[in-house]
Symmetry: C2
Subunit: 406 residues, 2 copies
């Protein structure tokens, strides 16, 4: 498997565009399109929030129907969540306008929205946006990058990842984009993320892989413990590579690895761009009794406001890490645990045998000043492990979210 | 029931003191004692965190033994959590030193600690503190206030509450103190809180009431979702009023009301003094299908970082409230919900029938500028309700916690 440049246009047969449609602000790129002329089977997972945005309900309906699709249209600025029947109609209009431009059916267009909850989309912007998107469609890497930029909200960088592998003497590519910086605590789904592949694959097999992919990637990141109303992860497979992925083959294993890799890379990029953050945190729970338990413990540490604030201050306050493990709802023996921090090629043991290790606070602070910090919780009780990603809690997070709508 | 001045010395027969023992800092009040010459039966609840501080383990052991006690010694500055066997020995020393001063047994002294996790207490400070406490003991209101001040950490105000009622022609008093400002997300217990009463009551009956009291008070507040390793709620009853409280009597109902009232007042004071906060939030979930569900929903909103940051910015971002209700893990119909904010004698409907109500953002912002804000979530599905208390998420919260140990 090789990493390649690009995102949603990396795979053969996919075009994309990102334009400024005037969804909420003037002159800001805010509408994106991913298009495949060949029909694509697709899989998807969505927010578990009881309050679901109109585009989430639309996509779920299409997923149930199981017919192939040709496009995904996405917008930033307005989430189209908590918008009632008017919001549903406007979501349909978004699909319909794009379908009209592409000469396909609205039911062949998936939708996704992100932004302020409760505001209504404006029909004029959708009409304008659909026409601009059609005109801008291209299979270039730049077009994929434009699409990734158009779905940003408080994100500071756009997020793309792509890999390829060989099968049957041909190249199969998997590439994706995602957005997400705040209201990030995906549960069985993620913020907006679209992945494309030119592999051909059975719909049920794809959906099974999609569900597996989110488990170790998007579902293991958290910026602020707030599970959004709009989380959407879509994977489109149009078969343009000429390679068909079948269970029980090496190509299936390679495809799975590629899909999981792209999902994890996108997830890590989201964690590292958490609202206002100054560093990315990685929590590894190792030698744990079960994977489920390791997951729960890792997520408890990554979501602790106190751990996150301590990391912002480069403070090796390991008591807060132990505390967060302790309230996760899992049993364990605190006496057994070893806590280690790792960053910038250096590592330091902080806690073992139920009490502080003899370490230098100055050296700990130096390690914690790195942009990417790893916290290792060795439970010393088994063989299972899990990793979660997140970020520190900063003054800027508060500023961004005290003033998001204005 | 009448509200009275004071805290742990309001009830007859209780003395208290607060002194500067030099636990962690010089010249800062950091050690407190509550003493009753008459033996007191006691009830208590403690943190559910798997990682438990040494004093929590000690108190739980004494609670199981069930013998009456004479004193509670508390310190701030160092939590005596994650301190191994040395921490256990120092906790015993704390009880022993106080017992020596008071000519009682160490097993008649409850302990409680709050502060930095992982640091060891110093024996000299405990010896010095115990002697100073003995010398300062008094049944005055001022002595109770000194004790309440000595257990503060990042608290900006001390917390006391007391009430009395009449029974059998005598006055029964219930008074308490508590501390807590960060790492506040009690679960079946709370931060440090000691309540005293001069009622006489059976040990089992008292414990039952204690468990009930935390449910609607300390367990319904959250500052930062971090359940501490040290949460301790103790209630001591010395019988000095001459009134015995028996189940099935009016006095029992009055005592229950008094105990619950003091617990709730202390809890609200903690919520309103959350680290760095500028306002207290109250979330009322009403007309809900069950009380348990109402509790879960109210806690989900009160703990949402995004709701808390929006409140800090006086931003009526009701989408975040709905979103937090939606990811609480409970089913409901978003179309039915009405959201209202209430403060400073004014109230405003924000959301109904699945979409935004026609309200003025300016008026909403004015209402949200109040020091105490109430968010009412009317589920329109039943008769149950629950209330949770918390505070906003501010720049100061981040500052305090990025730099707590230095």
């Amino acid at each position: 498997m090789n990493s390649v440049e690009g995102g949603v246009t990396a795979a053969q047969g996919f075009q994309a565009a990102g334009v400024a449609a005037g969804i909420k602000y003037k002159d800001r790129s805010d509408m994106a399109l991913v298009y495949t002329e060949k029909p694509a089977v697709f899989g998807g997972t969505f927010t578990t929030n009881v309050v679901k945005a109109a585009p989430v309900c639309w996509d779920k309906k299409l997923l149930e129907k199981g017919e192939p699709v040709h496009a995904v249209v996405l917008n930033s600025g307005i989430a189209n969540a908590c918008t009632g029947s008017e919001g549903e109609a406007l979501n349909y209009a978004m699909a319909e306008e794009v379908a009209g431009q592409l000469c396909i059916e609205p039911e062949q267009v998936l939708t996704a929205s992100t932004g302020v909850i409760g505001m209504q989309l404006k029909k004029e912007a959708l009409v304008r946006g659909a026409a601009l998107l059609k005109a801008a469609l291209s299979d270039s890497a730049e077009a994929g990058a434009e699409a990734a930029r158009a779905i940003m909200t408080t994100d500071t960088v756009s997020k793309e990842a792509a890999v390829c592998f060989e099968a049957e003497g041909r190249t199969v590519t998997v590439g994706g984009m995602s957005k997400g910086s705040g209201m990030i605590h995906p549960n069985m789904a993620t913020m907006l993320s679209v992945t494309t592949t030119d592999a051909a694959i059975d719909r049920e097999d794809l959906q099974e892989l999609v569900s597996g992919a989110v488990r170790d990637s998007f579902n293991m990141i958290s910026v602020d413990r707030d599970t959004s109303t709009n989380d959407t992860y879509l994977v489109l497979a149009n078969g343009a590579s000429g390679v068909t992925i079948k269970k029980g083959t090496q190509a299936y294993e390679d495809f799975k690895e590629a899909l999981f890799y792209v999902a994890k890379e996108l997830a890590k990029k989201m964690a590292g761009d958490g609202e206002g953050c100054t560093r990315r945190l990685e929590v590894r729970v190792v030698h744990c009794a079960s994977e489920k338990k390791a997951r729960t413990l890792a997520k408890s540490v990554i979501t602790s406001n106190l751990v996150k604030a301590a990391m912002y201050g480069s403070d090796a306050n390991w008591g807060r890490i132990l505390c967060a493990l302790g309230y996760a709802g899992e049993e364990f023996d605190p006496e057994k645990i070893c806590l280690t921090i790792e960053a910038g090629g250096d590592s330091l043991l902080l806690f073992r045998d139920g009490a502080a290790a003899a370490y230098s606070e100055d050296r700990a602070t130096e390690i914690l000043k790195n942009r990417e910090v790893i916290i290792i919780c060795d439970m010393k009780e088994g063989e299972a492990s899990a990793t979660a990603w997140g970020c520190d809690l900063t003054h800027d997070y508060v500023s961004i979210n005290a003033d998001y709508r204005s």
